[in-house]
Symmetry: none
């Protein structure tokens, strides 16, 4: 089966925005063996959208449209589809009263304009939207299934997952694509590629062929394995074997084989071992503690964080001797160690982290240029410290620092267990 | 003039890639007044590409195609365009010998396959490619100019700049598009739309027409104003007047008229007034301090942050009486106020912030459901506190909380000045 994905919205035709919904939609269509043959972005213009949909109806088995279901005049998806299909629209009372209730819950009277969101083309089925006002629409026309979804990702994603599961999976019938994401940190892309290329080469010609894509994203490398198989079980067996080979070659550089982020892996490790953690951050400004607390249930292990930007606050809050800072400089391994030990002592957490560095753009020197970051992790009987040289601007340095700190924590805690 | 941008290449139809060439092309087309009305990505399939180009020829003044000019069978752009136009192709000797020379310089004999890159549809003009083997092609067909460029950005970009300068600018008639982004927080999309629609309606028919797009992103609303004018000065005047009208209608709900983010506006306010700040966060876990320190030079005002997840740490680090927490609960306005006052007292910062809430997914109660967040800001002689009810999962609640706290700080500091 072939699919066309259309994103509607003039803002995605500016130089500042890309459509990312289509990546999510593609991934989920691929899983059930549906091939995306074309994707397009059109503005809030009925005539152009109409022409595009008419063209796609000639060849596509599935047309997924995101956006343009809001309450304003700019929201034209419903109208364009009704026009292409030559059907009329009518107001659905149930939808309008659901929208009215959502507003009422927040103590607001529904603006009259929102009634537009209750207009439904004849023959369409409603798709429930648990996270917003506009329902989605499912319309069958000849061989083609049309899916209309709201644009905001948090509304669109659960709705599309439900559609794939409940309506599309049974129609597709073909071989599915099944993926596994291996996450690696602390190695370069070319280094990882050189190590794994001899391994993944032969996978292409297996009974269940697996293709491999290597992807360098900020602070980590991802290996995306894609198996083509008739069912999930056969794909799972082949992928498990492939992952095992990669683990043999890359060892502890792999931090996750199931897509989990580094903060989730560290959280899992702390939780499993019943340990608490406290953080002392300078250049990351709270990003490390924020990432640690992105994980649901992190209050079980996250005890305390401090952001000590000034030298004075490092002394008064963490008890770091002014003389130590004087001797080695605020950005140094001794100070990072004293921060990790200091926050542990002050909070009686089991694990402490200290980060001190130069995020830039100012503050660099020839000996310690922008991007120099010292990180220490400390637990009973085990203390580690490293100095990194990161590249890029302020936000990149902050992110890479938090990533390196999480990785040092993971290795300190011995995760994932081999 | 209206443009269509088409990227050719199956790799851009996977879940891992987005086409970014189109952003560069859009930006350069906009400056000479060409409007991008549609963009699309198609795979390496002659039939689908042919259908798409045929559709675009019906309405587009400019069709820019990137990719598919390489030497392999997968490179089908030339063939598809020749087919649509019903012209034949012939090998251009000059192009082939240029390619042969490029290979020779690297000591390699040109593979025969590369002769495909010398195939030119009848009627096409060559566009020089200083950074690669494949030349670009310029083809005029009726009212439409078609531009075929290679996909790699370092080849495509200088070629497209030359085309805009030498060929397209004079055709477009010179009116450019100029943009302004207005950012608003603390109001709903439909509320903002209802307020500003009567204002921006008439702008369309001005001497310098301005079109308006309203965009709801997480925790804020953006109004994108686009003026069409012969030059930057005329556009600037019209946009200034438009922004003034919006400020009159929306007042302090507008936090920026030049695209600046909320953390940058707060930083500007602190810096201008020579004030320092300290943060006490519970449910945001350091996200507020991290956002404040995303701004270069924030060490001038960011003094200290603490993340107090447990009640005990609120008491021991911020001096909040256990009895207060007991009486009102950790998530309450009195505790938020005590956190803001406590961090100010402990650090002698000029401004303090306290955030306490339930980020979820656990911890909610009927009286205080997930998403309940109390935020206090405190400065000499001025203290404000509010309770919010945010929606969505953990990360959304964290972000909206940090956004609301930054907005309360901005209003406390009286920014932007009216």
């Amino acid at each position: 089966m072939n699919a066309c994905i259309i994103a509607v919205g003039s803002e995605m035709l500016t130089p500042f925005r890309v459509d990312t919904n289509s990546l999510f939609v593609t991934e989920h269509l691929n899983t059930i063996g549906v091939d995306v043959r074309m994707k397009a972005v059109v503005g809030d213009d009925v005539a152009e959208l109409t022409a595009l949909v008419r063209g796609a109806l000639e060849w596509a088995d599935v047309i997924v449209m995101t956006g343009g279901l809001g309450p304003t005049e700019d929201d034209i998806t419903r109208d364009a589809v009704a026009r292409v299909l030559g059907v009329s629209m009518s107001e659905n009372e149930a939808v309008v009263s659901r929208i009215r209730e959502r507003f009422a819950k927040r103590g607001i009277t529904m603006p009259e304009i929102n009634r537009r969101q209750g207009m439904v083309p004849d023959g369409a089925t409603l798709v429930e939207n648990p996270n917003g006002t506009a329902p989605g629409l499912w319309i069958e026309h000849g061989r083609t299934a049309m899916v209309l979804l709201p644009g905001p990702p948090r509304e669109m994603k659960p709705m599309f997952e439900a559609i794939v599961r409940d309506r599309l999976a049974s129609r597709s019938g073909g071989e599915g694509l099944f993926r596994r994401v291996i996450k690696i940190t602390g190695r370069t892309e070319s280094d990882v590629d050189a190590t794994v290329q001899p391994i993944y080469g032969p996978w292409q010609s297996q009974d269940v062929p697996i293709s491999t894509t290597i992807l360098a994203v900020l602070g980590q490398i991802e290996l995306h394995l894609t198996a083509r198989a008739a069912d999930r079980v056969a794909a799972g067996r082949a992928l498990d074997a492939a992952v095992g080979e990669l683990q043999g070659a890359l060892g502890e550089a792999i931090y996750s084989v199931d897509g989990l982020g580094l903060e989730a892996v560290v959280g899992q490790a702390l939780r499993d071992r019943g340990l608490t953690i406290a953080t002392a951050e300078s250049c990351t400004g709270g990003l490390l503690s924020s990432r640690l607390t992105d994980i649901p249930g992190s209050s079980a292990y996250m005890q305390q964080g401090v952001v000590c930007y000034s030298n004075e606050s490092k002394t008064s809050w963490l008890g770091i001797p002014a003389a130590l800072i004087e001797e080695y400089g605020a950005v140094s391994e001794p100070v990072a160690k004293a921060m990790a030990a200091g926050i542990r002592a002050k909070t009686s957490a089991d694990v402490g982290v200290g980060i001190t560095g130069i995020a830039g753009p100012g503050g660099g020197t020839p000996e310690k240029p922008v991007g120099t970051v010292a990180i220490a992790v400390s637990a009973a009987g085990d203390e580690r410290v490293r100095t990194f040289q990161f590249f890029g601007g302020r936000e990149l340095v902050k992110f890479q620092s938090s990533q390196a700190a999480l990785n040092m924590l993971r290795l300190l805690l011995g995760y994932p267990r081999s």
